[in-house]
Symmetry: C3
């Protein structure tokens, strides 16, 4: 027996019948609009090479730390899920562990996306999905494997079938962007795949390879200039290279939202101290804060939208990091302060022409307290959509409720899926659209927004905002 | 085509039909009760002089930083809205900018208040309001201008028509209160207009004129005593003067909720250091914290209700502050700590007889965590109603949900409109009443409060609480 | 006239008729399941001795700081409620104060529990309860007194009638546990009453009796070893004694969630410094943080579930503390940081086999930001259910909404009532079950969880989780 979730046309819509009816009508306006994904982590060569996806485990389980973390919490070793390149068990066995853990995902965002992709992408019957477990793990594994072997399940065909118009990747500043170039050059493929400049390891002094990266970027793009000046020149040149290859944004995963304008001499001294391996934790924070200021300056010059993703304590569990590497499920958010932190940057660039700064948070408390007021004054600032732990239905609804009354509908970034999990992209965008329809439907039902305007607003949220904010 | 919001009798009420019916009945109890406004920013001479309001832009746009900030965020210069005394464009042109920006306000609190006052105060047809924009900007400008020329649109007539019983202003300690005296002496006018003692620039060492203000208050009210003692005497005397002129409260806009009991010698030394222009940022915080303690002591003595409004980073964007002055839309909230901060004050005055201390916040997280527990123990403490960015329907609902379970309905301050925008006062109080009716209706529908008691409670929230808390 | 709350079968269920129907069906699955109470404050000798409860005031008012705090906030002295052993008035007079204060409790969690126990435990008619006040205070006092004199109102009979299967007490490490032993030995009584090891005064250097307690535990259980080593030995031995007497958990009321792994020499030096009476506030925090690490180590060894209750500023109002003692209504929460704080402990024990660590909070912001991500990765970590100010319907609903999308339903602790108020236990568990049913009903109505699974999940939340998490 089953009562399918993924197939239900009213999924995620509010229970009140009157409000639901309004939500349905709003959803109808946007349900079939193309997907704009201006920030994510699908590798470009997946699209460029159009190689078939590997087995179900390698596609759906092992690389997705949203999925493996919950199974790990239930007591399963990450190596039993083939995380981080481990292969203690074969794919089919790892898949069985996943299937057995399926009930853990009830009520979670990951569970919703998985369920949706199982039904909508892989066409699994809902009773099979509802009852995924030890008994039918192999059946499902084989069903998905069979699909993955079909030509219609190659990345490019899925890209088209998913209705993706734009997909941004996240790339190292020294990436050749060869895959992006190949995609752009291929006239048979209409999708836009844009690189994103992500210089974290070149900026974060705590990164194990920081000094090495500085060597490389200076050597490869520093125009022969040495030291701090060459380093800045290298970053500037590589940003320009990204712009030439279609990049629209530069993304920054920083510890906190702190920004700082150091004098040239002071910045240079800090840089040299770090190069000598003598930087302290305080130096690290100051340099990162200063480099955020420099990144904003460069964005003002070269037009790349600047996005900031702060507030995650990376690799919280050292033993797991040492065994399995980064991005293995134990990055834990903490409280942040945007108001004081972002000020140095905004004082100089907050009203700069055509500068776009998208501020993300994992600390929900800053939505109403800091981000909505900031975006409601500074022309450069946009509130980043709920991200990571927060891009789930209730959290997205709390976000709209927290920011809209202060900053309206025009100052938010539009949804970003931020995902490595290619097959989950349609489900994520669909969920966001349903939540926005539900939120707007309540405002209509409570006579706070007119129905006419709600129909215009939802199209703007889904289509207008990302195009405008990310300069697509 | 239109579906009017402001005219809809069910606006802001919950969508669920059963709950809405209960809310309607609760609302009926209070919809027509007089307005008590114990904290706001309408200047007293507006009422005393009863001068006609100026043009629509000068009344509705330029002075309201809630309105100009959102338009600024869309890329319009504040000077194009005639903010801060600038006059780069004429009023009609500035109004056109506002009209073009009208869709920005959808879903915002300001949009709701503007819409309500356009329809209810100025009698504009709702289809005009719904479709305000470049095309009809002039029509609306003229319609409002024509109304403003009518005798019925003078401040005193509106005061009466709005059903205002008490309106508190916010005043400088050295204000002569002449306007208040004139209003009180005028037997033809029934409204009460009460001054509020607001000594921020006399207390905040960072204020540009602090030392000058100290000179003046000491000279004018220090009873000939010099130094710190004369300064305190001056403050005490001016508070008494305010009491004599009908003041019921003293209001404090401070950086943080920190309070501190310094010894006399220590306080005096800090004062003298600041007078010599040598105070540090830490001194500033310590002195402000100490003066909050002193202000509480004085309130215990003279009976003025003490209200504290902390947690706003004032004038966040220095270039805008330098060009347009304070209160121009870039005061940004930050996280605060009431629990440790307010302790020094409460240890000595928390149970003082007839002392009333109303604690406001822009940081929603303290509602459930700190303010409800504090107000649920200390007889002196009341939770200040949602304020500034938070006096919007969803935020007000979150407030009731956050505090009621811990501290009930008797420990909150009653709504304050805190506004300069005179014509928005009825809409703001109406919105608050609708939210309270909606919150209570849900508790009735969920069988958590009896319907009988809900009818009593809503009257107490709207009428009893502000009278009791603000000693009206 | 009345509209009973406590008697209404739909109390606390959502207003939307469709969702309510689903909630009713979910509630039916668990409404009559036994009560598991793995953390609370009922003294064991109440059950062991089965002595009749004293008068209504001594049972319901004086010892319950949830109740007396709100009455105190209204201006009544705590001595008028016979708090802290004071007896300025007789019980009947104190009860009258309580009855007069009854309307203060509308909308509060305490009001709901009191009302439920008045109707369901003491069988008072709902119109009497609705209208409790000066007029009928004596009538109610006598009615409850009469009930208390009946044999059916002895603690053990109520224990059985309430359907309690397990009740954990909170005990001093040196408690003989004689009462627990007597209960366990009595074959005529089926209920399980388990001790809980709560070593706060032995760990918190700021506790007035810390050094004395160290002397005692070292003398009584230190195996003749002196100093820090004997102190640790004493704690280890007493934990073992508790395990032998049925304890399943060790509970820690700490200032903050900080943990710290000090080297042996450093810890010993700190201990000796404190023994000499020279410890600073920073030492106090460091020692407590280190001892949390040690307690985790011991839990890994002896299997006691470790529970942490941080973030309450104890005895905020010194004068009240000096007059009435601790736990008199002025413990005020503040913001905490679990992410950085708990890391030292989790690095070493976060994946330890069979180690269970339940993290509680009074700061709601950490639910979505920190606790759900932590419990969603670490096999040892469980999110503690809403506690103290937060175990009320709206707060419990916010909790589920905050954590479920990130960590699902399997990583939360199950409800704890944490109460001294024996007669409120059924009402508290009933309220929790109703909220969980309501939350799940919404997910079903929004097609986010299947109805089949919701029926399984609610049974697991009410029955499975506490058994599993607390190793019952």
């Amino acid at each position: 027996m089953t009562d399918s979730i993924a197939a239900n046309p009213d999924r995620l819509l509010p229970a009140d019948p009157g409000t639901r009816q309004i939500a349905r009508e709003l959803l109808a306006d946007v349900e079939h609009l193309p997907i704009l994904s201006p920030h994510g982590h699908v590798p470009a060569d997946v699209i460029a090479d159009d190689t078939p996806f590997p087995d179900p485990t390698a596609l759906i389980v092992s690389p997705d730390h949203y999925v493996t973390r919950l199974i790990h919490a239930s007591g399963i070793e990450l190596s039993d899920l083939r995380v981080g390149g481990t292969a203690d068990v074969d794919s089919r066995t790892a898949w069985r562990r996943f299937a057995e853990a399926w009930p853990l995902f009830d009520g979670t965002a990951s569970g919703y996306w998985l369920r949706s992709s199982f039904e909508h992408v892989f066409g699994l019957p809902s009773d099979l999905v509802d009852n995924l477990g030890a008994d039918n793990a192999d059946t499902v594994y084989e069903a998905i494997s069979a699909k993955l072997a079909e030509p219609g399940f190659r990345p490019r065909q899925l890209f088209t079938d998913f209705g993706i118009e734009v997909l941004a990747t996240t790339d190292d500043p020294l990436d050749s962007l060869e895959a992006h170039a190949r995609i752009a050059a291929d006239e048979s493929f209409a999708g836009r795949v844009l690189p994103t400049f992500r210089p974290d390891p070149y900026i974060n002094l705590a990164h194990a390879e920081w000094s090495q990266r500085v060597d490389r970027i200076t050597a490869e793009a520093g125009d022969g200039v040495a030291g701090y000046a060459g380093y800045l020149r290298g970053l500037e040149n590589r940003r320009r290279y990204f712009v030439q290859h279609g990049a629209v944004s530069a993304d920054h995963g920083v510890r906190t939202p702190l920004t700082l304008k150091l004098g040239r001499a002071e910045a240079e001294a800090l840089f040299e101290k770090a190069r000598r391996g003598e930087a302290t934790a305080a130096d690290r924070d100051a340099f990162e804060a200063h480099m955020m200021y420099e990144m904003a300056r460069m964005s003002v010059e070269d037009g790349l939208v600047m996005t900031i993703h702060p507030g995650s304590f990376r690799n919280h569990h050292r033993p797991t990091f040492e065994k399995y590497g980064a991005d293995t499920g134990h990055d834990i958010p903490f409280a942040i302060d945007y108001t004081a932190g972002i000020r140095a940057l905004l004082e100089d660039f907050g009203t700069a022409k055509d500068f776009h700064l998208v501020l993300f948070t994992l600390d929900e408390t800053v939505f109403s307290r800091e981000l909505a007021p900031l975006a409601g004054f500074y022309p450069s600032v946009y509130v980043g959509a709920p991200w990571w732990f927060l891009d789930a239905p209730d959290a997205m609804m709390r976000f709209r409720s927290a920011v809209t009354e202060t900053t309206g509908f025009t100052r938010t970034s539009g949804f970003i899926d931020d995902t490595r999990a290619f097959c989950s992209i349609p489900a994520r965008h669909d969920a966001s659209r349903r939540v926005d329809a539900s939120f707007l439907a309540r405002l209509v039902a409570e006579h706070r927004v007119t129905e006419n305007r709600a129909h215009e607003i939802i199209v703007d949220l889904v289509d207008g905002s990302p195009r405008r904010v990310f300069k697509l």
